[in-house]
Amino acid sequence: MDSIEVNNLTKKFGGFTAVNNVSFKVKRGEIFGFLGANGAGKTTTIKMLCGILTPSSGDALVAGFSVKDQPDMVKRNIGYMSQKFSLYNDLTVSENIEFFGGVYGLESKLFLERKKWALEIAGLRGKEKTITGDLPGGIKQRLALGTAVIHKPQIVFLDEPTSGVDPIARRQFWELINQLAQEDITVIVTTHYLEEAEYCNSLILMDSGEIIARGNVFELKNNYLNKTIYEIECEPTLLTLEILEENNIGDEITMYGNTIHVIAPKKDDVELTIRNALSSQNILLKSVKKIQPTLDDVFVHLLESKNET
């Protein structure tokens, strides 16, 4: 069963189209990732799905309710952690939990149970009286997640929950997300970090308000990049880059740290061409090898080919 079904969702701010005719489906219990650069339209899409921003056209069914016609029913069935959400810094841990538990109208037995759970996942048992503003970022984010799902919604939207959090805390946060998914909660999460895409069951990549790719990580790597990537280790890299470009080798040539990636169609083997082009020059060629494309490669490729058209 689909937890979310989005049909031709569009949002215009004046003459500017922030989200353009977007459609996709999210299965129940899935971890669904939204990727995209700044301003791609991720937050705008999520706000529409939460029922707090009215679509300009199109509609979406969230937990079976239309975001356009029944936003209040949608709100009752979801949890949401906004991009900036950082709880009330001037309230204690316990007061924050009580406030959100209260506004969701939890009855006291369920509330106590959920409060205990929220404290547990944030690792804050016995520290209920701490002022929230004094907590470290990672713990605060977990507490924020705990309060966002205090009412046990079937769907939760997390807008860049891990931005500005250190890598260890990020990993712990993703473990928590996994735990939610195992409890059959659908998790929609946006992120800037491409490596986090690997944790998602399914992904969409947005750019300028449009979906430019979708699928799981494996599909994305295979379907959208029908090419081979060669990684070249050499010195000096800049000179190598120039030579390769002069010789028009492959479709795309990009620098990756101190290596160079050449992307070429699968059918032609360009390894030899590369070696020949460089051998005649003053270049120390350490290695040329075919590598698995990373999501980075896929996205750079997708964005570049989109900009060309």
């Binding site: 009752r76 979801i78 959400f85 406030f99």
Partner: protein, 376 residues
């Protein structure tokens, strides 16, 4: 209902944890009341005067004695030329320079017209005008006296056809202390400032830190959110009134002549407008700083200038006078001054009361509509 209580509780918790708020609400009003109360003092008590008497006869000395006797004129300096006089005025040592001509006394003796030159430092126009008034009154009085004397000297029985001396009695503010007039006005300002700023800041703060989106995604209804913000600040506003009334009684010895109940009822009606304006400000701003700017320069300053708080409305250009009818603060100040100074009640002030209700409902309704629209 439960949700509303939750929000109110949260608001109070945040309020008491914020030392800045505590200062705004408890200390600032008293300090402002005292400072403004003294500063907004338009009366002139002492007129520092320098005398350049070229005549030195009896009459001139009598006049000076008379002036001194009023208690207002302090004859601090006697000088011997214009230059010195000029210097004293320039330095601000005196506001008034009195110059008697060489033939002042002889002129009077000969029943000719005698004149005195009075030089004012008009850099403070108010003080100068008021001092000039005092001087004129004093000289007139003296004039009458010497006419009587000279006439009787000539052996005539004197009877003025109508010797009318105006005896001015100022009601409600017998000592004509502007302070007494200003202080109730200051109380209305404080109530306005506190309710407008607290409301707009409390809402915009949530937007700024990102909890606003978090709130509207919960089942909280817009009206609950609005009430949850309003109720605590109305309570704070009422507490401030109590503080100010106490300070007023203790510091300025002004007590409320009319009904306290009517005073509080009007305050509650008045804050409908200010809360509405605060709510409106929160819908047009994104940061606390913006909200503060708009609240101060866009809303409160114009309200204060147009309310008749500082400048009497009758002295304004006619077109501006019409605008003042749109300022809720105007009516509230009329009510507050009426209740505190004159002991008036609903029977006398019902027009203002009804207009305030009307404005309150209108402003609150429109802002809530806008607020709700912004959320959806």
């Amino acid at each position: 209902m439960k949700i509303l209580l939750r929000i109110i509780k949260k608001e109070f918790l945040q309020f008491i944890r914020d030392p800045k708020m505590f200062r705004i609400v408890l200390i600032a009003p008293v300090v402002q009341l005292v400072l403004l109360g003294y500063a907004a003092n338009l009366e002139v008590k002492v007129i520092h005067t320098a005398v350049y008497n070229q005549s030195k006869g009896t009459t001139s000395r009598n006049l000076l004695r008379e002036l001194k006797a009023t208690g207002y004129f302090h004859l601090d300096y006697y000088v011997n030329n214009y230059k010195e006089l000029q210097k004293l005025i320039d330095r601000g040592n005196v506001v008034l320079g009195l110059v008697f001509d060489k033939d002042f006394d002889s002129n009077i003796g000969a029943s000719r017209k005698a004149s005195i030159q009075a030089v004012f430092d008009a850099s403070d126009g108010n003080t100068a005008t008021i001092s000039a008034g005092y001087l004129q009154a004093a000289i007139q009085k003296f004039n009458r006296k010497i006419s009587l004397i000279t006439l009787s000297k000539k052996g005539k029985e004197v009877r003025f056809p109508a010797n009318i001396e105006p005896i001015t009695r100022v009601w409600f503010n017998p000592e004509l202390k502007t302070r007494i007039f200003m202080v109730p006005g200051i109380m209305s300002l404080l109530l306005m400032i506190i309710t407008i700023t607290l409301t707009s800041l409390a809402i915009v703060k949530e937007k700024e830190i990102g909890t606003f989106d978090q709130l509207i995604v919960t089942p909280i209804k817009p009206y609950q959110l609005i009430l949850g913000k309003f109720i605590p600040f109305v309570a704070v506003g009422l507490i401030v009134i109590v503080i100010v009334l106490t300070a007023m009684a203790v510091v300025f010895n002004i007590s409320v002549k009319g009904s306290l109940l009517f005073l509080f009822a009007s305050s509650l009606i008045f804050v409908l407008s200010t809360l509405g304006l605060g709510l409106f400000i929160s819908t047009v701003t994104k940061t606390q700083q913006q909200a503060m700017m708009i609240a101060t320069f866009g809303v409160m300053m114009p309200m204060i200038y147009l309310s008749g708080f500082a400048f009497p409305i009758v002295n304004m250009p006619v077109s501006i006078q019409y605008i003042t009818y749109l300022i809720p603060l105007r009516y509230f100040i009329e009510i507050i001054r009426g209740v505190i100074l004159k002991g008036l009640g609903l029977a006398d002030l019902w027009t203002q009361f009804v207009i305030l209700i009307f404005f309150g409902i209108l402003i609150l309704f429109l802002s809530s509509l806008r607020f709700k629209k912004k959320i959806d």
